[in-house]
C-alpha cells in the first residue's frame, strides 16, 4: 500500500531502533498523546524493541476513552427514544455507561446504527424525514471538521430532523493539564499526526516553550513512530524544547485552514469534563448559538443527566501517564474488555484494552 508499506519497512525500523539505542544516554519518559499511536506501538511490539531507558507512557488521546460518563448516559437516554435513530461511529457502541451500553439499547428496541462518516448520518436523516436522527459527534480535532460539516450542511439544507450530541475535545489543553499536574513524569511528547493535519503545529510551540518539553508530531506507522521517538530523544539529549515535525507528508505548520474555518464557524471553545480526568478548562468544542437547534442535548432535554464513575477505576491516572494499566488493581480482574469498568478498557486503542490485548509476553 502506497504511503503505508514504506513506513512498515522492517529494515528501516531496525536502523532507527539502533540509532535510538545509540543516542539515548539517559532514561527518558516520552508520552504518545494519541491512542492510535498507542495501538500501533503495542500491536507492533515497538515497546519491546526500544532500549530499556526509553519509557513510553500512553496518553489520553482516545475520544472513546475520554468521553465523559454523562455524555454516554445522555446518548443512552436519547437512543432509547421511540422517534430517534441514533447514529454513531462503531467505537462508541461498547462504551459502558453506568448500567448499559448502546448495544443494550439496541437490543431493547432502540434504533442504533453505525456510520462511517457523519455525512452518512445526515443521509439517514434525509431518508427518514419522520424520524429524529441524532449523531454522536465525538472526537478530537481530527474528527471535528467532519462533524462540523455535517452540521453546516444540515443548516444549509434546513434539515430540522438532524441533531448532534457533541463531545468534542482538544489536545493542547490536555497536554497542559498533564504537564501542570504535580505527579507529571512526561519529558517529551509525540504529537498526534492527524490532529496536526488539521490544526498544524503552531499551537504546540508555546506549550514546548512554557513547559520546556520537546514535541514531535508524527504518524502512526512503525517507521513514523520510531523516527518520532528518535527525534524526541535527540531533542531531549540536546536539551532543546522545540517542536519538530516528523510527519511532513501530512502535517504543515498551519494545518488545514479550510477545515479550521468551518470548525470555527460551527463550534466554539468551551470547558469540557474528560472521563477519568475531570473538567479541563477550554478543552472542548460546543455548538455555537447559531447552530443551537442542532444540539441534541437541548432538543431532547438531557442536560440534567449526570453520572458517577466506578470507584474502582483508575483510568484518570492511566490517561495522564501516571499509572500503567496493569498497575490498576482491577486490571484483568474486575475489569476486562468483556466487562469494562472504565472507557480505557473499551476502545481497542484505550490504554487498558491495548495492554490487555497485546501485553508483552514475559517468558
Amino acid at each position: 500500500m502506497r504511503y503505508i508499506d514504506e513506513y512498515r519497512d522492517p529494515e528501516l525500523a531496525r536502523t532507527l531502533l539502533d540509532e535510538i539505542r545509540r543516542k539515548a544516554t539517559r532514561r527518558w519518559t516520552i508520552m504518545e498523546i494519541c491512542g492510535g499511536q498507542t495501538h500501533s506501538i503495542l500491536r507492533n511490539g515497538l515497546d519491546q524493541l526500544l532500549p530499556g531507558s526509553i519509557e513510553l507512557v500512553h496518553g489520553p488521546g482516545c475520544p472513546v476513552c475520554v468521553t465523559p460518563l454523562e455524555s454516554i448516559e445522555r446518548a443512552l437516554a436519547i437512543a432509547a427514544r421511540e422517534e430517534v435513530i441514533f447514529t454513531s461511529f462503531g467505537d462508541m457502541l461498547r462504551v459502558p455507561g453506568n448500567a448499559k451500553d448502546l448495544f443494550m439499547v439496541r437490543s431493547a428496541g432502540g434504533d442504533v446504527r453505525i456510520v462511517f462518516s457523519p455525512l452518512d448520518a445526515l443521509q439517514i436523516a434525509r431518508d427518514n424525514p419522520s424520524k429524529e436522527v441524532v449523531f454522536f459527534a465525538v472526537g478530537f480535532e481530527t474528527t471535528a471538521p467532519a462533524n462540523a460539516m455535517a452540521v453546516w450542511q444540515a443548516a444549509r439544507e434546513g434539515r430540522e430532523n438532524f441533531s448532534v450530541l457533541v463531545s468534542q475535545v482538544m489536545v493542547p489543553p490536555a497536554m497542559r493539564a498533564i504537564l501542570s499536574s504535580p505527579g507529571n513524569r512526561v519529558q517529551g511528547f509525540l504529537a498526534a499526526g492527524h490532529v496536526c493535519a488539521v490544526m498544524g503545529y503552531e499551537e504546540y510551540e508555546p506549550v514546548a516553550r512554557e513547559f520546556h518539553v520537546p514535541i514531535v508530531p508524527t504518524g502512526f506507522e512503525p517507521v513514523d513512530l520510531l523516527a518520532g521517538i528518535l527525534n524526541t530523544v535527540e531533542l531531549l539529549e540536546e536539551g532543546r524544547a522545540e517542536v519538530v515535525n516528523r510527519y511532513g507528508r501530512v502535517v504543515s505548520r498551519e494545518g488545514n485552514p479550510v477545515a479550521r474555518e468551518i470548525m470555527a464557524k460551527v463550534f466554539e471553545v468551551i470547558d469540557r469534563p474528560w472521563r477519568g480526568i475531570g473538567l479541563i478548562p477550554d478543552s472542548g468544542l460546543g455548538l455555537r448559538e447559531a447552530f443551537a437547534r442542532f444540539d441534541a442535548e437541548k432538543k431532547f432535554h438531557v442536560t440534567n443527566i449526570c453520572a458517577q464513575e466506578s470507584p474502582l477505576c483508575m483510568s484518570g491516572s492511566v490517561l495522564q501517564g501516571m499509572l500503567k494499566p496493569d498497575g490498576c488493581p482491577a486490571f484483568a480482574k474486575e475489569c476486562t474488555p468483556e466487562h469494562p469498568l472504565g472507557a480505557t478498557m473499551v476502545s481497542s486503542e484505550g490504554a487498558c484494552a491495548a495492554y490487555y490485548n497485546y501485553h508483552t509476553i514475559v517468558s
Partner: protein, 348 residues
Amino acid sequence: MTIAPACPTPIMQHETVQMAHGAGGRLSQALMQRVFMPHLSNAFLDLLDDQAKLDLPLGRTAFTTDTYVVSPVFFPGGNIGELAVNGTVNDLAVGGARPLYLSAGFVLEEGLLLAELETIVKSMAEAARRAGVMIVTGDTKVVGKGQCDKIFINTSGIGVIREGVNLSCRNLKAGDSIILSGTVGDHGMAIMTSREGLSFHSRITSDCVALNGMIGSILDELPCAIHAMRDPTRGGVAATLNELASSSSVGIEINESTIPVKPDVRGACELLGIDPLHVANEGKLVVAVAADNAREALDLIRSFDPGRDAVIIGSVVDDHPGMVVMRTLYGSRRIIDLPLGEQLPRIC
C-alpha cells in the same frame, strides 16, 4: 343484467412470499412445485415424505448443523444459499467426513421476492452438486414482515468418516506445522463493505466455497499426518488458532510476514480499523500437520484452486499453552487474542 357468482378465485401467482406460503395449504404446495422442486429435485426429496430414509455406508457418522443469517443476503461472490450448503459441507469435511446428505430449513420473511428466493435455491442446488451432496429433506416457514431479515436458512449434514482418520482440535502436538490454505478476511470484508451506510464502492469477493474435495485428497494422501483441521469462519483465523491451542493445551506461534491478505481486503481493513485475522472466511482451512509431512501437505493443498495461496504460517510449541503468539514484522511478539464479539468499524 346477470351478477357473477361471488367468491373470486384467490390469487395463486404471487411475486412475493405470503404468509399462506408457509401455512401448509395449496400455496405451500405451489411454492414447493414452483420454486424448490425444479432445482432441488432428487430421488429422496421427490417422495415428499416427512423424512428421508437413508442407507449410510459403514463407518462412523458425522452429523452437524448450522444456521445461516447474513445481511445482505446477496453479496459479491455468493449468497446465503451457497453459504448454507458450503458451510455445512465444510463443517463435515474438516472432521474427516465425506459429506453425503443435507437437510435445509427455511425461514422466509413475508414479502421476500420469489425471484430472489429462487436464485437462492438455485445456488444451493448448484453448490450441492459441486460438493457432491444431496439435499434430501427440508422445511419452510414464513414469518411476518420484520420478523426476520429476508431469509434464514438452517442446514444439517450427515457424512461418513474416513477409515483411519482421527481429526480433533485436541490432537495438536508440539512441532506440528500450521498451514493456512489462503488469504484471510475475504468473506467478512465482502459482507461488511457491501452493507449500506459504510460508503464503500468495493467489490471484495467472498471466498465461499466447498472444501471437501481438497480435504478428501489431503486425507487420502496423508491420513495419519494430519492432526487437526478447522475452517476459520466467524472470529477468523485468530479465533480458530485460539480454539486449537486451548483444546490441545499447546502454544501456537505464527509469523506476521506469512499471513496472506488480498490487497483490497487489506485496504478495507485498514480503512475500517479491523484486523484481518479477526475477519470471517468461508473457504479457508487451517491445518495442523506433523512437521515431517508439512511440505508434502502444503504442495497438495496448493494443487487445488481454493488452496493455491496456501502457506505455512507457524508451528505448535510447548511454551505458553493455550496461547497464540505472533512474531511481528519487527521481531517483537504479541498475543493474538480472541476477537471480542462483533467487528465494528472504528474511526480511532
